[in-house]
Symmetry: C2
Subunit: 461 residues, 2 copies
């Protein structure tokens, strides 16, 4: 532990400076899905390059057709592994803005209960706070030892929240430069505030926007109501048809490739003690909305879903307008598990929609990203080392869990670079990522830095 301990001490001593740096990054409005914030995305990339250079990385902003990548390299001792660290600097939109208690881009420290401080702001947990835990661990190690314990390549993406359109071409074009022994991905969470977790399964995602078109203009419902097709009615019917009464998705072929989760895995999840009450209670709900007869953890970790993420049509302002709209649209996403094929799911959904259209109406489809689910091995040596290192840092031993969300990069690392990923992160379930009032616990940020120092140390043994 001779190399590690002074690094941990330094991280403790320099926590305030590390917070200043994180706040600087959080102030940048790097919302990737909205073209109005393109310049902010570039600014975040440039900020990271400057910071990584200050540590001694050979870092650069790398242009793509979308938002730029950040790539940085640092040598390590011969014989030590080469790791690729991944994070993303882009953030989700902030609407509805009126529900935020504070400016989402004016980060602050708040004590939300005695002894529990959190960092507030969009991106604090997803993913700027997380990626900076690793950067700070590298900074402290370098400052203490003049070197890093292993060879490290860093890849920060700026399109993770908008379907990563530039990622695959970039990995493909730069495979030689980016390929390492394995990847560290920091975009996941703890099991609870005391228990670190390593994620071994991730759901995939297919996003699709549909626009139903009926009349060639908006109509007065008095003149045409009862005779003219109403695209909101058609859309509602299509969306309603997607689930049956048991919560199962009815799209033909949707469950192709879905496997039943082994009973010993279900049992280990059961041992975690999560129930419908504990999972849904904090968000004000009590009744699981998915397939009947499955636990909430199985529903979010090992079952596919269809969700409606947005819907819009007709008059939505104040008051009332007796209009029959010319069109109505919905953003629909599917979470995938096991071997479900994103392309087949998209095609099946489109066929499902088209088969429900009246003869004189039409539909436009706009794809928004697609990635298969990931299932990682439970027993790689890297996994075991990381698990032990995390268990040394936190009050309780690390657990193996799954993730309901998608991290497409993990599949891309497998497919383009032939690399497995180790998914470690310090987010908490109440971080409100993608929602108003996102936060990141100060302990996640601080002990996250220390955890990475421990993992880097462990991986090189």
């Amino acid at each position: 532990m001779t190399a590690l301990n002074p690094v941990l001490d330094r991280l403790d001593k320099n926590l305030d400076q590390s917070l200043d740096r994180l706040f600087d990054l959080l102030k940048i409005k790097s919302i990737s899905t909205d073209p109005a914030f393109s310049a902010d995305c570039r600014k975040a990339a440039e900020w990271l390059v400057a910071d990584l250079k200050s540590i001694g990385f050979d870092a650069s902003v790398r242009d793509t057709p979308g938002h730029p990548m950040v790539v940085a390299h640092h040598d390590g001792p011969a014989g030590a592994p080469h790791v690729l660290f991944y994070g993303h600097y882009d953030v989700q939109p902030v609407d509805p803005l009126n529900l935020w208690h504070d400016d989402p881009f004016a980060p602050a420290m708040k004590e939300i209960e005695p002894g529990r401080k959190v960092i507030t702001g969009r991106g604090s947990a997803d993913d700027k706070g997380q990626l900076m835990t690793f950067v700070e661990a590298c900074r402290a190690w370098k400052a203490e030892h003049g070197s890093l314990p292993c060879r490290i390549t860093i890849l920060f993406e700026g399109e993770e929240e908008s379907g990563s359109p530039s990622l695959k071409p970039f990995l493909d074009a730069n495979a030689e430069e980016l390929k390492a022994d394995f990847a560290l991905v920091c975009d996941t969470g703890m099991w609870d505030r005391e228990t670190p977790a390593i994620s071994t399964a991730l759901r995939g995602l297919v996003g699709e926007e549909i626009v139903i078109k009926a009349a060639n203009r908006d109509l007065h419902s008095g003149e045409f109501g009862g005779a003219a097709a109403n695209p909101i009615r058609i859309l509602a019917r299509i969306l309603a048809d997607i689930h049956d009464e048991t919560g199962r998705v009815t799209i033909p072929g949707f469950y192709d490739g879905v496997e039943e989760t082994p009973s010993q895995v279900l049992k280990s999840w059961e041992a975690l003690g999560e129930t419908a009450e504990t999972f849904l209670g904090p968000i004000g709900l009590s009744v699981p909305a998915g397939e009947k007869g499955r636990s909430v953890l199985e529903l979010v970790w090992a079952r596919p879903t269809a969700e409606f993420n947005g819907i819009n049509g007709g008059y939505t302002g104040k008051g009332f307008k007796t209009v029959i709209a010319a069109e109505a649209s919905a953003k629909v996403s599917f979470r995938l598990v096991h071997k479900q094929d994103p392309d087949k799911i998209r095609a099946a959904f489109r066929k499902f929609v088209e088969s429900r259209l009246p003869a004189d109406c039409s539909v436009e489809f706009h794809p928004h990203g697609g990635s298969p689910a990931i299932q990682l091995s439970y027993d790689s040596p890297f996994l075991t080392k990381a698990k032990n290192a995390l268990s040394d840092e936190w009050p309780k031993p690390a657990v193996m869990i799954a993730m309901g969300g998608s991290i497409p990069i993990v599949g891309d690392f497998q497919n383009f670079l032939g690399m497995e990923s180790l998914l470690v992160g310090y987010g908490l379930s109440d971080d409100r990522i993608h929602s108003p009032n996102e936060k990141y616990d100060l302990s996640s940020f601080h002990k996250g830095q220390r955890s990475w120092a421990r993992i880097l140390d462990a991986l090189t043994r």
Copy 2:
């Protein structure tokens, strides 16, 4: 015809000046449903009062808890009837603004085909252009004869497009002042460009906004998708359940009070020659969306409907956001016929929605106006006189039709003032009322003025 002919000549001669006046009124953005335009509504009322005073009416702006009324009086010869003329100076919102070819509040004259000129702008047809036809007829009569042919009271409302919340209390409080022998209501249309029409049936309306609430905040669909209730899914299911496969509304009790239309009436409508092709073709549709086995005219004139006028929930901006929204909302309206009771329909709809809510979700209801359907007598002497007067003015004889829209004032005149209404208007089916690029034919405006002069003349005989 001694009194009439010089009035008609004067209307022909002064058409340009009457257009200038209409354009001044059309420039005022009197959108009643949006509180941002309250001052514009008052401005429109004040403009009308000043104009009516210039003719010799005893006119005033009359405050209400909402937008003001305009009331004006003018004496007539002893023995002549006393008529109440009604119109509304408020207009519909203009969104989506990007679909307008010109500024909706910069009225202009356009020649849309050889020899056919139209007045463009929001309110040109609904209802500023229409109400000014009557005002211009009065002006010409007064200028020519120094008097009016009968006693005339004018009532202009400023909340017709937003459910008329102030109307009933106003009629109730001012019944003595407003009661006349019958009412003239100018908010309806011609059968076609050559054939004037008198409307003898109007559908009623119930408007209701529902807000479905699920989780206490927006959620990440990766974290919670498959476990948490999605309010868009619940809303889509509720809306989809409202119609069965034959287009019939499924809300229990919805058809109470609906009568089958007498076969001779259906036959007279059939004789008008309207088909699904002629009715729906111009708006780019071909398949009637209402109850199967009924003609399009029966669907819009004599059958009740449920329409979805707006829907909104989750992320509706550019790009994609994998959010599960905390709430979703829809604006729903019902067109009523015959003896359907608006209060019972509203209650039945609310019960229908509540019965479909998951145990841990909730709904908010926001009422937006309600009025029963109207069925006027086919054989009053006023009706016969007006029909003959209209037939004198236009190339083809006037026909008796029904209206798919609601004009709640007609029911209110019956209920509060014990008065029947005569529904005459010069709108055309391609006027795009409530839609972008609203227009009013110049011939509607000009021959409409002449038609009122003829009707006033005929009514006094």
